[in-house]
Amino acid sequence: MKKLEATLNRVLESIATLCFLAILMIVITLVVLRYVFNSSITGANELITVLFVYSTAIGAAVAVGKREHITISVVAERLPRGLRRMIDALGLLLVASLNGVLVWYSIDWIGTTGDFLMPSTELPRIVAQISIPLGSGLAVLYCVFRLARALIGEEALGESWTPEGESEKAPDTP
């Protein structure tokens, strides 16, 4: 299960990174086109916003699996180990339930407005909207992975998520 999760992490991180690379290329191209060729690409800003939503949704799901979301762990860390495990399991269940609810309500939302066209690219809105149930579904999957791994003894619960802000702190991150 650990291998499966690691593979999923690699694939999703690569997708998010490629989305970001595409955003970077388009942003730079737009400036060059505007100032050098006095031209632009219709719908480019809309496209990079869609790519950004995907990279955020996917990246946030991966962070659930890697326990890298920003957390205030001052109180939770001081609790007895047994209680901490229970609270950790409860937290994962709550995060999974929340994301499940988001998937559920997304179906109705996309069903109602997904066929509308985006103003510049004229793509159906569903192309962008699907990022929300996708990211939330992946977050549920990661919570299930973590709980399942705890049940089969591959991983101990009760270890805190990354303390607040720590995700921004390593020397190779801002």
């Binding site: 730079i28 950004f52 990246g59 950790d88 929340l98 988001l102 607040e164 802000g165 190779d172 801002p174």
Partner: protein, 425 residues
């Protein structure tokens, strides 16, 4: 409203990530108070994520990472050594001066702490400085990373308050430089009293010209990035994109320290970091929507106005709240939570939202260096191996400079507003 705030506090204390605590408390509100409105949750989340301006966030993070990987930290330190190295406490002064310049490149305090601390803390210890002094000065001076433009927290505030990114960048310039100047003064005073060493560097016109030329590619970068936004040549997002291009050119062609694999790693880590912050931004949009539904901002504004406080007293009170909140909440979530609550009161009192933004970020910068939740303290503890409490005590005198500047900009708003007025009106 009580349910909303109590559930948020409970989820946060249980150790549930900030992003999901915000969403869960909003969900609790919908379940118990307005079940018919719960369908808006995915829409609010999507609206929070799909911001064109916020694309600047991962791009600024990437720009700082690439510059860091390009070996600019050592170059900045060499540059600063020429100017202040020969004074008492030379390396301490270099630490502060390098942070002032680094702040203009990375836009992030944690990055500043990690980059400068990993080089200067061991070097200062080797030269006879107490380690806690070296760590304290590193962590306190890194606060300038958030205030001096370009600044990632200023971008987050600009989007939340729907203010101009350029104005906020320029608004942070004088306060950031003031913090640096005061910290230089405090360092020099302490160094003279404690007889800290001078560095054997020469200070001559030739040296200055040579060192400035060697460092020009680093020194020009903040001017280039902020200049393009302020002059209206590019949007904040485009400017950040051009900043990444500039940084990549420096890394690949000038310093040649940057390798394609490192570039890819920087891309990967930037978007991961950004995703975590963006998730908080997106879920805070849900939370803010509920706050608006409950008319909380109007209520707070009404209470503040009914107190009949003068704008200065109100800002001093808000600064105090920001300083206290900053010790418990990280910078991004604090901006996202405090801005919608206080901004209506600020506007009603006819105070500039730019001034409020700079006060907010400057106050939260102090919070990043105070326990129990101090992002920069955590980083510095990792880099130096010292306990958080030890570093905080040593940083105290330098953080006093930040608090003094916070009071000064509250009393004299022109310190913040003059540069944006002069350059953008």
């Amino acid at each position: 409203m009580i349910l909303l705030l109590a559930s948020l506090a409970l989820f946060l204390l249980l150790g549930i990530p900030v992003a999901y605590s915000l969403a869960l408390s909003s969900l609790s509100y919908f379940v118990f108070i307005h079940p018919e409105l719960a369908v808006v949750l995915p829409q609010r989340l999507f609206a929070g994520m799909s911001s064109y301006v916020l694309i600047a966030l991962p791009l600024f993070i990437l720009m700082g990472q690439i510059m860091n990987a390009s070996g600019i930290t050592k170059r900045l330190i060499s540059f600063c050594l020429i100017f202040v190295g020969r004074l008492s406490g030379g390396l301490g002064l270099v630490n502060v001066a390098a942070s002032m310049l680094f702040g203009g490149i990375s836009g992030s305090s944690a990055s500043d702490t990690a980059s400068i601390g990993s080089i200067l803390i061991p070097e200062m210890e080797r030269r006879g400085y107490p380690k806690d002094f070296a760590a304290g000065i590193t962590v306190a001076s890194s606060t300038m990373g958030m205030i001096i433009p370009p600044s990632i927290p200023m971008v987050i505030y600009a989007v939340t308050a729907q203010e101009s990114v350029g104005r906020l960048f320029l608004g942070g310039l004088v306060p950031g430089l003031l913090v640096g100047t005061f910290q230089l003064g405090i360092t020099y005073w302490l160094a003279c009293r404690r007889r800290y060493p001078k560095e054997p560097t020469r200070f001559s016109a030739g040296q200055i010209v040579a060192e400035s030329l060697r460092s020009s590619y680093v020194l020009l970068m903040p001017i280039f990035v902020v200049g393009t936004v302020v002059l209206g040549v590019a949007t904040a997002t485009e400017s950040a994109g051009l900043g990444v291009l500039y940084a990549a050119c420096v890394g690949f062609l000038v310093t040649r320290h940057l390798k394609p694999a490192e570039f890819y790693r920087a891309l990967e880590s930037s978007i991961q970091t950004s995703a975590k912050i963006m998730m908080i931004i997106a879920t805070s949009q849900m939370f803010i929507w509920v706050l608006a539904l409950e008319r909380v901002p109007e209520t707070v504004a009404g209470v503040v106005v009914s107190l009949g406080l003068s704008p200065v007293v109100m800002l001093l009170l808000i600064s105090l709240i920001v300083l206290i909140a900053g010790t418990f909440i990280d910078v991004s979530p604090a901006i996202l939570l405090l801005t919608p609550v206080f901004l209506p009161a600020i506007i009603q009192a006819d105070v500039s939202p730019v001034l409020f933004g700079v006060i907010l970020v400057s106050g939260l910068a102090v919070g990043a260096c105070t326990p129990p939740v101090g992002n920069c303290l955590n980083v510095c503890s990792l880099v130096s191996g010292l306990r958080i409490g030890t570093i905080f005590r040593a940083a105290g005198p330098f953080l006093a400079a930040n608090v003094i500047v916070l009071i000064l900009i509250t009393l004299f708003p022109e310190l913040v507003l003059w540069v944006p007025h002069a350059l953008m009106d």
